[in-house]
Symmetry: C2
Subunit: 330 residues, 2 copies
């Protein structure tokens, strides 16, 4: 596997035309005389010529690739976002530059700064607070952000977490639950929105909320906190988890402790990851439409790159998915 890659000059020379002509031909920029067209086609084929995209990008300033930064591709929520974004990118001829910051905020800035020079735009999922994000707007590239922004002029895409949480809580209350607890993940900006939705609903019913703090949005963390939630003086009769992964871990651990689900406690999460379908009982959840979020973000970014005006914010409506992990109390 070695070099000898044909350049546009080789093609031009072999075809007896100028490089400009070849360039225009390759980019389909105009029409040509049949003779020239035939020759160039033949020469390109024979030499196996392919335009060097780097050289082209240098001049046009467009790389036809888009940076996507997520917190953890291993989390199905983010994986779905990547899927959705990738599909749209592909359809528009863009390639995805993936960055997985692995929930490490220090990593984000240098990674994104480097990335920004190689892409036409970026889609960013971050744990940073808005006050620490000003540098992003200095990057000189179109951006789309996952999450609500109040000050920075970056278009964003969000799911309506508050509403989703409200819907879920309301359902739990209507099932007769009175001792509702929330397993939180305060590091996430979405945590407080979910908490807000839960609180709003509980307040309307004069119910209390118990909060247990989680320190990672993972199944392992759900397992870890389970005993402290379930083996206190009085355990909740329903637990809302920050996400499905935590719910999965919690359920497993609770069952290991001898609790019957959903009889002893109803459990629900957020994200509607596929794997919530395969637990026993299957997991009630709020579908945040992860893949659609990815699609929406990528569409918005590409439209911005193409100079089409875009509404700054896109909100995606969640859907409550009822399954066996939540049960009516009597």
């Amino acid at each position: 596997m070695k070099k000898n890659v044909a350049t546009i000059r080789d093609v031009a020379a072999a075809a007896g035309v100028s490089t400009a002509t070849v360039s225009k031909f390759v980019n389909g920029a105009q029409r040509f005389s049949p003779a020239v067209e035939a020759t160039i086609t033949e020469v390109i084929e024979r030499l196996g010529y392919r335009s060097n995209p780097l050289a082209a990008s240098m001049i046009t300033g467009r790389t036809k690739s888009i940076g996507l930064s997520v917190l953890d591709v291993g989390n199905p929520h983010f994986t779905s976002i990547v899927k959705g974004a990738n599909r749209v990118a592909l359809a528009h001829g863009y390639t995805l530059l993936l960055v997985d910051t692995e929930e490490n905020p220090e990593r984000e800035r240098p990674l994104l700064e480097a990335l920004s020079r190689r892409v036409d735009g970026m889609i960013v999922f971050s744990r940073m607070r808005e006050a620490e994000m000003d540098w992003m707007t200095q990057l000189g590239k179109p951006l789309v952000f996952f999450g609500r922004l109040t000050r920075l002029e970056i278009p964003w895409v969000i799911s309506d977490d508050h509403r989703g949480a409200y819907m879920l809580t309301r359902h739990l209350v209507s099932l007769g639950h009175r001792k509702i607890a929330y397993l939180s993940f305060p590091r996430s900006r979405r945590d407080e929105e979910r908490l807000g939705g839960i609180r709003e609903c509980l307040a309307q019913h004069q119910l209390e909320l118990t909060i247990h703090e989680g320190s990672a949005p993972t199944a392992a963390e759900g397992e870890r906190v389970c005993s402290s939630i379930m083996l206190g003086v009085e355990h909740p009769d329903a637990l809302i988890c920050y996400n499905d992964l935590m719910a999965l871990g919690f359920m497993k651990s609770a069952q290991g402790l001898g609790f019957k689900l959903p009889e002893d406690i109803s459990v629900a999460g957020f994200d509607n990851i596929q794997y919530g379908l395969y637990t026993s009982p299957p997991l009630t959840t709020v579908d945040l439409q992860s893949e659609r979020m990815g699609v929406a973000a990528m569409e918005k970014l590409i439209a911005t790159i193409d100079g089409k005006a875009q509404p700054a914010a896109t909100t995606i409506e969640p859907q409550l998915i009822l399954r066996g992990s939540t049960l009516k109390r009597n």
Copy 2:
């Protein structure tokens, strides 16, 4: 967010030195007089100069990015590979260009051909047969392939699927299973290796194998085929699935049909995806070490790029993970 990006010339002019000097300084190519060093440092800082990686790549021919092509990021097996590969890439200063071919073979070639011009090397997961892959070696970039190759001179990384299948089957036989079935996925090159391992073991015990063909490596497919496997004249007492996803779907569906697992049928898969832990019963599986495969592939590729000699093949040993979905017969 607009242009006004400082170039190396701006820095050189402002610092009163040549662009060559700035270039060498930025790349740490040599030592400088304190005066020059101080000035350049200051000017770079003041102008917010960052080297344009595209321009640099044009000359050096190195992009510091690596293409990774997988069949479906949504499949946890591939997600883990991406995780592993990404971690190594990051540690070596490389960025990942992700390609998700979505199990669509026609897509692979054009995608990889385009990709090859923007990266220093590629790691490829493909459903293509070796006979159709010659064009890959023409790409002029270092490659690493996931899967065994006999003719092409591309380094590869594999898990020992044959051995993994053998181990699993042997365990099932030792548990007393006699009517073993395999839910296959013939489109995958690894399917026959797994099949081979199963067959070898069963032959040693004079046992028959029933094969059910699956058409997608997904949970949905596992659900779909369940009834035809379980509701025939006589159902198997153990089912090995091509992968964990199919096993997850199968188990759910079987339980829906009223079967008790693992009493009525033992089920096992391949990959050791995280979610096999959260089913009831949890899934027995063969851990193919997905993340380690990603790590190995990336390490091998980077070593190749760096001109370090590498053994052509790396085989990763699988590990049998026993959980509740397989049970002793009596």
